[in-house]
Symmetry: none
Subunit: 224 residues, 4 copies
DNA sequence: GATGAATGAGTCTTCATTCAT
DNA sequence: GATGAATGAAGACTCATTCAT
């Protein structure tokens, strides 16, 4: 192997570089693959739902062989879980800024805009999110994630609701927040199923529904 | 059930009457079979969802062989479709009075009661209905049926909406009716997931949402 | 249930026959299939060993589709288990007559003939038997069968040994019987691997080995 | 290990010595790799059997990548073959004295001790040896190696047998040597499966069997 | 030489659907 | 019509082997 002398160069030594750079390059490729696969999975889950999504289809969509998929995920469920977690984390960041105090304390119409717009935008950009969260039938795994998300969203909605009035009993708070989430979810289906002006119309309609539902509950003095 | 008297006819029946009685008997038996199968399908779909339901399981639940199932339905999708249609028809027959003119023309709060209560009751008694309509991830099949149901319900909602005002553009009518259906669907999930007082609370909440959403739209003079 | 009267007809009626004959015919076919499949499995296990045997290969060898195989066996292991059980039962019958008292109490050389010949014949006719019992690596199932067989054979060998002498300690009895089984097993490999005169030669050699091994142990007076 | 001093040679070595030292180093490294891999293979084959052993598992156990494994072995079978050969050679080198003329020509009982003891000891220390030789269901591969070993052992046994008598026909020689090997193999299973006193008992039993089997064949005058 | 990602044929198994009886 | 055995195309997953780096 005559070419072995090539790396020796000055002082940083071949070994140090090899041990550090090559793995890093590898790792980078691996992470690209994982992203590729998750993106492909998002697409397939979106189109067919979790149950009907085949790992071979995901691999094909990602442009790799089935074996490659299994180098990164131990099984189909793991793909869904990791995709879910990733989206969830992404979602939480979005939610975080959606429910920022400065938004929550705006006058109701503006508050709805400020809260809903980023949530809707997030879901439009990550259609796999609800696809997974609806969860047709993720075998029981994923449920944890689902639960977690639900809990987290409910909590944030309830936090916002409490700024409207102090009159809610805990039970009412529960009912109202669940209704709001349900309405949001249902509207999201409509919003995601349409584009352009139609989509905007449904967004407006959602805001109308919520505004009219919530306005009569307001007792706390708010900026007008 | 006019044909019920046909059996037992003369005594030896069988051959002689075959030309006349048998067809009717066939038909009757066939319909019994279909009902059996659809009932079994309802149960299985409900428990496992459409995708995970196997035709063999449905046949077993119905107490017939898989071959027999295929004598009455060309494929799995057809079962779902017909089950949906049957439930829909059942819905219309038994609780079709929901959208009866005398209900629709009541003052809004009463109209909502009159329309929603039987619908809710029907769905509580036929949980397979929404189970199918949600589609749990029905691969694109089922769409025909879904569409059909959706169209029919939309039409009825739109009919009712038109009694509220004449101001809707067709597009608005579309949006509002879809929103209403979405809200109804989302609430139904909550309603079906709870019992007793909780369930009632969600029913009340649904009515509140719709009342507040629709009330501002009313322009047509209505009984107060 | 109007049609219920139909099954009353005359006495032998078509229905009676159908209920009895058809199932029986079905059952017969099913059992033929099972035999076919077990025979095929025996062949494949024999040629490739359990681990390397593929269910598809077994199905192909049996001339049926993979699905058919799974109509009769829940999984690959079950095939091995059932094949083992069947052979085991067959074997026990053979062993039963091999170790008949009238054989065991013959003069040693004749006793060896009387005992070994049927055992060897059985194994020549059922080569899958040892193939399975060797059990390369049946996952842990089958072990029960294996154990069972081993125990049963050991017991019979020990029974026969006790007619030779009363001098054995339990430990010796154990060692000797295991050695005998081991020798038998090893010889069987040679016997099964050859045919005709060669096979006979190995049979003779086995008998020689055992005769010379056992003869010095005899203390009990025996027919000469 | 004559080549051990080679590394570190002058100081900067590497390039200048490359033409001379590197090849030797390569060779040395290669052989270390091969040993590593074979040792790993021995472990894995022992634990899981040949068929269930995965090349990746062997590579992992050896602490190298699968690619590296394939730089030294063209395929899985080759690993088994070479492992077998190595063990065989090891057997011959370390305990080859088993069949040393001075052992073979001892009085039979002592000869058996002298021959069998090292063989047994070797096998107790290298359990992978028989694990491989049994073949656990090696699909037909490995046969070459097996054959080789078998031939070699048979030859040695036959050599020893010829010192007992000159009366054997070639066929007899074949039969007897195969029987002996079979008996040895079977006993080895028992010996390896036990420990301590039990193991010793089986060793003794093996010697008894062989002694009684062979003694009557002796015609050649031997030291008493 | 070494690495480990990638491959793809092959394994076990399921299930919608068909067909002989 | 009814039966249930049979089919075979997938699907999830594995692993011996190759290849770009």
């Amino acid at each position: 192997m005559p070419g072995t002398a090539r790396d020796k160069s000055v002082a940083t030594g071949e070994d140090g570089d090899l041990a550090a750079a090559a793995p890093r390059r590898r790792q980078a490729r691996g992470e690209r693959r994982i992203s590729q696969l998750l993106a492909a999975a998002a697409g397939v889950f979106c189109r067919t739902g979790y149950a009907a999504a085949s790992t071979n289809a995901i691999a094909r969509e990602a442009g790799v062989s089935p074996g490659t998929l299994y180098q990164y995920f131990p099984n189909k469920e793991a793909i869904a879980i990791q995709l879910g977690s990733q989206l969830l984390q992404h979602a939480r960041e979005t939610h975080g800024q959606a429910f920022l105090p400065e938004n929550v304390h705006l006058p109701l119409p503006e508050a709805l805009d400020a809260i809903l717009d980023p949530l809707i935008a997030f879901n439009c950009e990550n259609p796999a999110f609800w696809a997974l969260m609806h969860g047709s039938g993720i075998p029981g795994a994923m449920d944890t994630e689902h639960e977690e998300l639900h809990t987290s969203m409910t909590a944030q909605v309830q936090g916002a609701l409490r700024t409207l009035t102090t009159d809610f009993t805990p039970a009412e708070l529960d009912h109202v927040s669940h209704m709001i989430l349900g309405i949001f979810k249902a509207s999201l289906d409509l919003i995601l199923a349409h584009e352009g002006a139609e989509r905007d119309a449904y967004v407006a309609e959602l805001k109308t529904v919520l505004l009219r539902y919530l306005e009569p509950m307001v007792t706390t003095p708010r900026p007008r």
